[in-house]
């Protein structure tokens, strides 16, 4: 029970959604601290530190920009390099965050078995720690957009695009982190799914190059995120709006599932660790 006085009252294994949301909101200091710790740990030992977070999507985009045009010519709104870069930046954020966050409750069991805080804090802080390394990447993306002459007021859309990416990724991560406590193969299911997922996401090809299965690609929530980054940088595909609605719908649905799972299992995840 969340009252003004600290403390709690537990009447069973399941709590109320309201308490869960209030407790999570109260844990925002903890979320920030855990995210910073995670961020420091990840880059402290690497010689280039946080630069790696920049270099990896840039390298990936560069390689794709060299190879793909030799295989197929896509009609993209702006330069293909910028097109593929905006896609990989968004995709890399999604992929690395989901990989890390979906196992976060189990990975932190030394602490979760001893101290209570809403378990959703862990996947959320994983999203935040990835956001820290995402910010410089986005600055580079903005700089390249300007340098290649695609810059406009639309660059400001990078902010809502980032928020949307965090919301979708966070919602999915909270659901997966809960499932992973019960089903330890979720880790591998996620890895396998991500391998396939990039091909049904318009990262290296534009949506308008696809015939037939295109509506299915629009349903893919990550399409919405990628398209939003495209709108902000290289320019919109003509069908970006439906994918945006799908993404929002997915985010809301996943949050509802997350709320349901954590309301029921938040206080008993530990029993399975």
């Amino acid at each position: 029970m969340s009252t003004a006085e600290a403390g709690f009252e537990l009447l069973g294994e399941a709590g109320t959604l309201r308490d869960l949301i209030v407790d999570t909101w109260r844990s925002r200091d903890l979320i920030a601290t855990l995210a910073r710790k995670e961020f420091l740990v990840r880059y402290r030992r690497a010689f280039f530190g946080v630069l790696w977070a920049l270099v990896i999507p840039l390298m990936q985009a560069a390689v794709l920009a060299l190879v793909i045009p030799k295989l197929a010519r896509f009609h993209t709104p702006g330069s293909y390099l910028l097109f593929v870069l905006s896609g990989t930046v968004a995709w890399t954020f999604f992929m690395s965050t989901i990989t890390q966050a979906s196992t976060s409750i189990v990975d932190n069991q030394a602490v979760t078995t001893r101290v209570y805080f809403p378990r959703s804090v862990l996947p959320i802080s994983a999203v935040l720690s990835n956001l820290y390394s995402f910010v410089p990447t986005m600055l580079i993306l903005g700089a390249i957009t300007l340098a290649t002459g695609h810059g406009s007021w639309r660059l400001l859309l990078l902010a809502p695009a980032t928020i949307a990416a965090c919301a979708l990724t966070g919602a999915l991560a909270i659901v997966l982190a809960a499932l992973h406590v019960y089903f330890r193969d979720v880790r591998y299911v996620v890895q396998a799914a991500l391998l396939a997922w990039i091909y049904v996401t318009p990262v290296i090809y534009p949506l308008n190059a696809v015939r037939g299965i295109r509506p299915w690609l629009e349903i893919n929530p990550v399409t919405g995120v990628v398209e939003l980054f495209r709108v902000a940088t290289v320019g919109a595909d003509n069908a970006w709006l439906p994918s945006l609605w799908w993404m929002l719908a997915w985010t809301v649905a996943l949050l509802l599932v997350a709320g349901f799972l954590h309301r029921r299992f938040d206080r008993v995840f530990v029993d399975l660790l």
């Binding site: 710790k37 001893r114 330890r184 206080r267 530990v270």
Partner: protein, 410 residues
């Protein structure tokens, strides 16, 4: 204080469900609709007690008695299957030393992370940081990654963070069992300070010495049930009865138990006497010390012999009984002083001892509250279970005649 209790555990039961087949998403999806076979385990059944503000309560029991489950329920990390758990104020565990520390992070960064996890705000952590550094005595190393810490520094820092988090209710899980003797004493002193400052404390421990020293009241858990809740000394006796299997604990709540143990001889006092002749609880491993039991007989008793037992938390270390030939008979009203003189010869640590008057068919008089004591052994003692007081020396021997060089006989 007639206020509401600080901690309420109200008819709490906790069930764990164990799935017999490894729960895999893929296999579950393939066998959709089939229930997987599972077994249930009740870790706690109908546990009911309260803790008042400022009280220090111990929880003892064997492994598997439900102690850790109770601790998790109190910490709020798991919810009760039945019943109600209520805690007023901020509750924090005295985290097993250094849990959650990350090797790559500095002491300061780890203190921040751990402090936040324990529910402190950033400014509270900044305020307490000097105290934490001071208590852990690591001032030169606070900005060094903890992977370079000695194990002593690591433990001290872990303890300091938890202790200085200063919650309303402190949960202690076996932390007193780590570290060297000096560190244990320092922790114990600090715990006493915390207790005196009015913090409510719940201790789960195998260290009966610490439980006895600290706890006003102790709860004994056995197979998930609460077997005793009351006086700490009684609780320790109950625990040892359960441990030795002498009783399944059925009648332990019955006041008749005490009479039975004390009849026909009544215990007047039971003490451990140090070399100075004064009662003590801390003795040196090579001191001659004495267990002294004064008994008054209520009725005539024949064939009485003396028995003694010394044990630690894991096993009985020494058991003996005086010779049959030395057995004596007593009349009603006789008073007798039983003395058992011995040299502990043990490594530093916490031990328990008990003296009894026994007949062939049972105990005549035994101190129902075994005495607990600390042994200190010299610092040069490096390992092992017992201190045999070996003397070590090296002496030079007469040299062996050097082989003379073989020279030509010319």
């Amino acid at each position: 204080m007639s206020e509401e209790p600080r901690v309420v555990v109200d008819h709490v039961s906790k069930r764990y469900v164990k799935y017999d087949d490894a729960p895999m998403l893929v296999t579950r999806a393939l066998r959709w609709g089939q229930r997987s076979s599972r077994s249930e385990l009740w870790a706690l059944r109908d546990i009911d007690f309260t803790v008042a503000t400022g009280e220090c309560v111990g929880v003892i029991g064997h492994n598997g008695s439900g102690k850790s489950t109770l601790l998790r329920l109190l910490a709020g990390v798991t919810g009760p299957t039945r019943g109600r758990v209520k805690v007023r104020g901020r509750i924090a565990p005295l985290i097993s030393v250094g849990v959650g520390f990350h090797q790559e992070l500095t002491g300061r960064e780890n203190v921040h992370a751990n402090g936040t996890i324990l529910g402190l705000s950033r400014s509270q952590i900044e305020d307490r940081l000097p105290d934490i550094i001071d208590f852990a005595s690591i001032d030169d190393f606070i900005d060094t990654p903890v992977k370079f810490y000695s194990s002593g520094m690591y433990m001290r820092l872990g303890f300091a963070v938890s202790v200085l988090a200063a919650p309303d209710v402190l949960l202690v899980d076996e932390v007193l069992a780590v570290g060297d003797f000096a560190f244990q004493m320092k922790c114990l002193d600090r715990m006493m300070e915390i207790k005196e400052s009015g913090t409510t404390i719940v201790i789960v421990s195998h260290n009966l010495g610490a439980i006895r020293r600290m706890c006003d009241r102790t709860i004994v858990l056995h197979k998930g049930e609460l077997r005793y809740n009351g006086d700490t000394a009684r609780a320790i006796t109950v625990f040892h009865e359960l441990l030795s299997g002498a009783t399944d604990g059925e009648d332990l709540q019955d006041p008749a138990y005490r009479v039975m143990a004390a009849d026909p001889g009544e215990i007047e006092s039971f003490e451990l006497i140090g070399p100075s002749g004064e009662p003590t609880r801390t003795v040196s491993s090579q001191d001659r010390v004495q267990l002294r039991l004064d008994v008054r007989f209520r009725k005539p008793t024949r064939d009485v012999r003396v028995g003694v037992m010394v044990w630690d938390e894991f096993a009985s270390l020494y058991e003996d009984m005086s010779a049959k030939e030395s057995a004596r008979a007593f009349e009603a009203g006789d008073r007798v002083r039983v003395s058992v003189e011995f040299r502990p010869s043990l490594r530093s640590g916490s031990y328990m001892a008990r003296v009894a008057l026994v007949q062939d068919d049972g105990v005549v008089a035994a101190e129902p509250f075994a005495i607990d004591f600390f042994v200190t052994s010299p610092p040069q003692t490096q390992g092992g279970l017992i201190d045999v007081a070996a003397t070590m020396s090296m002496a030079e021997l007469a040299p062996v005649a050097k082989p003379t060089e073989v020279t030509d006989g010319d």
